[in-house]
Amino acid sequence: MQVDTRCLRNDSISANSNSMSNQINHKELCQWLTAIATQRDKEAFTHLFHFFAPKIQRIAKSKGNTDTQANEVVQETLGNVWRKAHLFDGNKGAVTTWVYTIMRNVTFDMLRKVKSNKEDTLSEYIWPIAEAGHIQESDFTDHLANKRLRAVIEKLPENQQQVIKAYYFMEMSHDQLTVHLNLPLGTIKSRLRLAISKLKAQLGESNDQTSS
């Protein structure tokens, strides 16, 4: 089952953290988040919300925020979780770590707004999301092949790059793509087909064995 492989690492985090009365079920958190990413599952989001909201509220208050500010941190952080769920990779780290980085960024930008009256949301530049909590990333990636693939993709026309990157690198579904790019499904599919045939021609069919 696909959901299980996505959460393997989170499962092992649960198994390894033997500390005292540690009750956090990392695998369950990861499955909820995966359900949000792949099915926009509101029930899963509700579970996740009830798990994190009181904790985030408490942390925010312990850092000297008012009740209103603390609630803002809760809403902003979990709003981000809903909108960014597809960017989470369960094989790179725990859901708790990922949510922590989002909470940290939200808090940082809010504080900057209060102190310097700046709304420049610098957090995403200081802590780029792609790098958030990436540990042991290099285990299964073939850097050379990746580099070559990326170089070839960069040569595609802009509109084909867009669908290829969104579909394969960010794992967006056809439906998400139609909504996001505001294009009919047919156009998305034909752009993908076109881009893939160009990639095949560039890289040679021999590279295709893994995906067939």
């Binding site: 953290s17 500390s19 005292m20 009365s21 956090i24 926009r40 509101k42 989001f45 919300f49 994190f52 909201a53 009181p54 904790k55 509220q57 408490r58 009740d67 609630n71 809760v74 809403q75 979990l78 709003g79 809903w82 909108r83 960014k84 769920a85 960017l87 780290g93 725990a94 708790t96 770590t97 949510v99 922590y100 980085t101 960024n105 808090t107 940082f108 504080l111 900057r112 102190k115 310097s116 009256n117 700046k118 420049d120 949301t121 610098l122 957090s123 530049y125 200081i126 780029p128 999301i129 792609a130 790098e131 909590g133 990436h134 540990i135 990157k165 960010m170 998400q176 909504v179 996001h180």
Partner: protein, 228 residues
Amino acid sequence: MIKHHPKFELLQSFVNGELPASLSAGIAIHADMCSGCQEKISELTEQLSYASFEEAYLDNPMVEEAGTLHNADDVNFDQVIAAITESNDIDVVEPKIEKNITFKDEVYSLPSVLNNMVLGKTANIGKISRARIQLDENEIHSSLLHIEPGGSVPEHTHNGFELTVLIAGTYSDEAGEYEAGDFIMLDKQHQHHPISEQGCLCFTVANDSLHFTQGINKLLNPIGAFIY
């Protein structure tokens, strides 16, 4: 090889989001070039996240109360959930943009953390050029500092702290040679005279002016606040 790294405490505050934007950017620039610190940051993030969401609550007598957290009067969780899930929009990560910056006809690629920051006009004194980064952090000033080949900053101490992250090129002072990626944090106790034979570009953060210490250069003290 990079020899100068942020102290552990500084990395910890960085991960926790407690540092001002200027110092956070300095650490981000360094970590971008230093895989060792990158790894430490990942580990610290993991540890701090566990500490935040797990251990902090276990021995806390308030835990009982947490279960009955004021969902009712403070904020209605169901309403918040409904408001968030109303929209099906998702965030897309924008591809990294490579920006360049030019000082005296030398083109440098700008560290990506600075992409979104506003740069002031470049000011020049001799072989030194400086562009302020407009972060509006009161007494803390951040700049890009360029030294042309053969240029130097007169011997000085610092009235506050002075952070230099070397982006490109090399420079040296009494304490040794520095190269791209080095993270050099100095304070009042340090007196130095940086020289760059081949030229360099630095990201600098200081919370007060420089204090020039020698002979005729003392006359420069009014402009000490200008350079950094």
